[in-house]
């Protein structure tokens, strides 16, 4: 029995991965990678193959719902997913996402499992101290709120039996003050590894909304994964066109500048940030740079290579470059990096992200090495 379903399941997975039956691939729908972030609520994509049928236009239909509200009020999310009489398929074909309440920790585990990501081996000294209090000990004194009932009972019982005041037929236990036991805490000091992610993004004219959406999604997953590996992670954001500046997260994803591109400006700023705030001996440093691969000049590209080679690489765990496919970008920078460092360099990881579907693979490129 279960072999049958395993066989069908394997077949389905292969189709989704595009290994077989290419013509079906176009019906594969992926949900949004993240619907809403915040309140730790995340949408998990479940791939589906939508068998076409004659059906009504998606939003034409409307339906019947239940609840409070007056005409004109918006109805909540998930509307219409469970209408009667429409069989198993559901009428929202093409938008089969399941919304899951997951903590980011759980999410990271799932991601790690799905992509078979190795655990990261941190480097550097454990310099960051964190203190947690744990209630593991027992004390003879303490506040009543921390009274340990079981221990107290046991002490009383011990005392009464040894002093012969315990009557098995009438098992009454009367604690006195010196029987009382209380929970007590110990402070646990741990030395943590610390990490910083420095995101750099090209915001020149050629990076469109779609490209930024890809970067945003990818950054979210990278963040999630690295957070699961390090306590107390820090993130910094740099945007650049011909000049670079540090911004907050909000601005990082929203800004659209126009104008030329000098990648070296971002790398210089990145180095400056590292030098002022993050000593490489104490921090695990992860710079990620996303761009569409256009740089202003070969001269500037040489400056970049120099910077990487001479200083940045020595200070960071890995240097990750993600190239987002764009209609306007030439993709030259990827080639240049590849030429300089080769496709399989120790600490320079290159990845091309063609479209949304490519994000998972790209994350695997970046994080699959466990550094």
């Amino acid at each position: 029995m279960s072999n049958n379903i395993k066989r069908d399941h394997a077949r389905f997975r292969q189709i989704v991965k595009g290994k077989i039956k290419q013509d079906l691939k176009k019906y594969v729908t992926h949900g949004e990678m993240i619907g809403r972030k915040g309140k730790d609520r995340v949408t998990i994509p479940l791939p589906q193959i939508d068998i076409p049928h004659f059906r009504f236009g998606e939003k034409e239909q409307g339906g019947v719902g239940q609840g409070e509200g007056k005409p004109g009020d918006a109805v909540g999310q998930g509307q219409g997913e469970e209408q009667p009489g429409e069989g198993q398929a559901g009428n929202q074909g093409g938008e089969h996402t399941i919304e899951v309440d997951l903590t980011l920790q759980e999410l990271a585990e799932i991601l790690g499992e799905q992509l078979e990501l190795p655990k990261i081996e941190p480097r550097g000294h454990k310099t960051l101290k964190s203190k947690t209090d744990k209630y593991t000990g027992i004390a003879n004194q303490g506040p009543n709120s921390l009274r340990h009932f079981k221990r107290t009972f046991r002490e009383t019982l011990k005392r009464q039996i040894s002093s012969g005041t315990y009557d098995a037929d009438k098992p009454m236990i009367i604690p006195i003050k010196k029987d009382m036991r209380y929970r007590s805490w110990k402070s646990d000091v741990r030395h943590e590894n610390s990490a910083v992610i420095i995101y750099m993004m090209d915001v020149s004219g050629s990076m469109g909304d779609e490209q930024k959406e890809i970067v945003r999604t990818e950054a979210f997953w990278i963040d999630t994964w690295l957070r699961s590996q390090y306590k107390g992670i820090e993130t910094r954001y740099i945007i650049h066109d011909a000049t670079a500046r540090e911004v907050d997260e909000q601005t990082f994803f929203k800004t659209r500048e126009s104008g030329g591109t000098l990648i070296s400006s971002a790398y210089k700023l990145c180095e400056k940030i590292i030098d002022t705030d993050y000593s490489p001996s104490e921090w695990n440093i992860y710079p990620f740079h996303f761009s569409d691969g256009d740089n202003w000049s070969g001269e500037d590209t040489r400056v970049c290579m120099d910077l990487l080679q001479k200083s940045l690489l020595a200070k960071t765990n890995v240097f990750c470059y993600g190239q987002v496919e764009s209609r306007y970008g030439s993709g030259q920078f990827y080639k240049d990096l590849k030429e300089q460092f080769g496709g399989d360099h120790e600490s320079v990881i290159l990845s091309k992200i063609e479209n949304k579907e490519g994000i998972l693979q790209s994350i695997k490129d970046f994080l699959g090495k466990g550094r």
Partner: protein, 506 residues
């Protein structure tokens, strides 16, 4: 059991005792069900069965794997859990999750007996194949055999096409006396007056000299043409628009034997599952009604009440904005029972317009239980809602219709009017909320093209999907395929020919 490949374990003695107890209660209430066999399964097994539509063996196809993927991920992430599953066969098979505690098992058993009673007695299930376990297994053997012979991909691709057309059946067909669609209907031809054939198109005359006036040449010509058209129509295939498109394809398309067999298998299975789609509200409502009744009045121990209430509430919860067929179903049965107990029906009640009187109405007829058994026998979801959904009910459960507002780009509450809500519900339930598609001509343009007709009822087809569906159709029909429909209020013909898709206004 092993011959069916359930691969499950037997009930423990405790569960046997519980089953006998619950079965006794169910029979005591007058439920009348097939012999029901419970199988103990774990979550992986139940996900597999569920993906297979309840059956242990199905033919190889990726979509079962897809459903399994969804179900097992849903289970892993803690989103959903299948509580109960039962197959409509005689004897019936139902699954019990090993991990459930006794109160859940009791509830599931009571629920299952409700379903099986429904399978056995509801009219719309009366034509289903109760030996479907064997049939499904045979289908699997056949298709596996074809895959060995013609290649997995070839057969699977063909199944994909058939599945695209799967909804194009006529669930009412099993209830109509079948007449062969492509044979002429003899009864009609006998009633035709024989002289018509002799003097085509001429009106009867008593005086010969009036002939030229009464039957002028052009009139005769016109009549002849009309006659010819009628003959044409009689020879048209199908003579009347036919909703069972799959049957038409089986009988008329140039398929190889194995393809015909595969299409026929897909069609058989679609017919087998059709009544479950037609009675979702009723069937789930009925089973919920009985598990609730049996548990609360007979089977529950005091210690189990909280768990029962928790799970029962979980299945019946109405999230804001959605409607839950379990909830609508059970409440409608309860409403009907109450109305017939108190005599709240008939002319006198309907014509009473004093709301207070109506509210307190009680003739102490006590006909409720009898009435709901009758309803479960004759109705399907459409007639159930049509007949028994009342204005008071819609108000009590705060039902509304919603629409998509293009301006604000969101779904919005449209109306709380009883008639509108009922109309919308009925529309969604009719043909399972899918467009009505008929074959009207298998020799369109006199060139063997296929002509389908979308009976437009206010909603346009999704053209993207229609195109893909027509592509599948054309691969089976092997000639151009046309669909007559309406787009934005104008009649349109969609055509698919040699890989090209065209539309034109009619």
């Amino acid at each position: 059991m092993s011959s069916y490949g359930f691969n499950s374990s037997d009930l423990t003695p405790e569960l046997v005792a519980i089953r006998d107890e619950i079965r006794g209660y169910a029979q005591g209430y007058g439920l009348d069900f097939f012999d029901t066999i419970f199988e103990m399964v774990d979550h992986e097994q139940i996900n597999a069965f569920a993906a297979f539509g309840g059956f242990p063996v199905r033919y190889p196809h990726w979509r079962f794997g897809m459903d399994y993927d969804q179900l097992s991920k849903g289970y892993e992430y803690g989103l959903q859990k299948i509580y109960e599953m039962v197959i409509n066969t005689n004897p019936s098979y139902a699954y019990l999750m090993k991990a459930n505690d006794f109160v859940d098992q009791k509830t599931v058993m009571a629920h299952v007996y409700g379903h099986v009673d429904f399978f056995k007695n509801n009219y719309w299930f009366s034509k289903t194949n109760r030996k479907m376990l064997d049939t499904m297994a045979n289908h699997a053997v056949k298709i596996r055999d074809y895959m060995d012979r013609y290649g997995q991909e070839v057969v699977e691709d063909f199944i994909d096409r058939c599945l695209t057309l799967e909804p194009l059946i006529d669930p009412f067909l099993p209830f109509v006396e079948r007449k062969r669609s492509n044979e002429p209907d003899h009864r009609e031809s006998v009633t035709q007056p024989p002289e018509v054939a002799e003097e085509v198109g001429k009106l009867k005359i008593t005086r010969q000299y009036m002939d030229a006036y009464i039957n002028p040449a052009e009139f005769v010509e016109e009549q002849k043409q009309r006659q010819k058209d009628q003959n044409q129509k009689a020879r048209k295939n199908p003579p009347e628009p036919q909703k069972d498109v799959l049957l038409f394809l089986l009988e008329n398309s140039p398929l190889e034997d194995w393809q015909r067999e595969v299409l026929s298998i897909v069609r058989d299975e679609a017919y087998y599952f059709a009544p479950q789609g037609q009675t979702k509200i009723m069937n789930e409502g009925w089973a919920s009604y009985w598990h609730s009744k049996i548990m609360t009045q007979k089977a529950l121990k005091a210690s189990e009440i909280i768990d029962f209430a928790d799970h029962h509430a979980g299945t019946l919860v109405m999230q804001p904005g959605r409607i839950n067929p379990y909830k609508i179903g059970i409440e409608l049965y309860r409403d009907i029972e109450d109305r017939w107990d108190r005599g709240k029906f008939g002319k006198e009640y309907d014509e009473c317009d004093d709301m207070m009187v109506k509210h307190r109405w009680n003739k102490e007829l006590g006909l409720g239980r009898k009435k709901i058994f009758e309803v479960r026998k004759v109705c399907n979801d459409v007639t159930f809602i049509d007949e028994y959904l009342t204005e008071e009910f819609v108000e009590r459960f705060k039902l509304y219709t919603y629409q998509f507002n293009r301006r604000t780009n969101q779904y919005e509450i449209a109306d709380r009017d009883f008639k509108k809500v009922k109309e919308k519900l009925l529309f969604q339930l009719t043909n399972r909320g899918q467009p009505l598609i008929y074959v009207t001509d298998g020799n369109h343009h006199n060139k063997g093209e296929l002509l389908l007709w979308h009976k437009h009822q206010g909603l346009d087809l999704d053209v993207k999907y229609a195109r893909e569906t027509m592509r599948a159709l054309a691969e089976i029909w092997k000639r151009p395929v046309n669909v007559e429909t309406e787009v934005d209020g104008q009649k349109k013909l969609l055509s698919y020919q040699n890989g090209e898709f065209t539309e034109r206004f009619l």
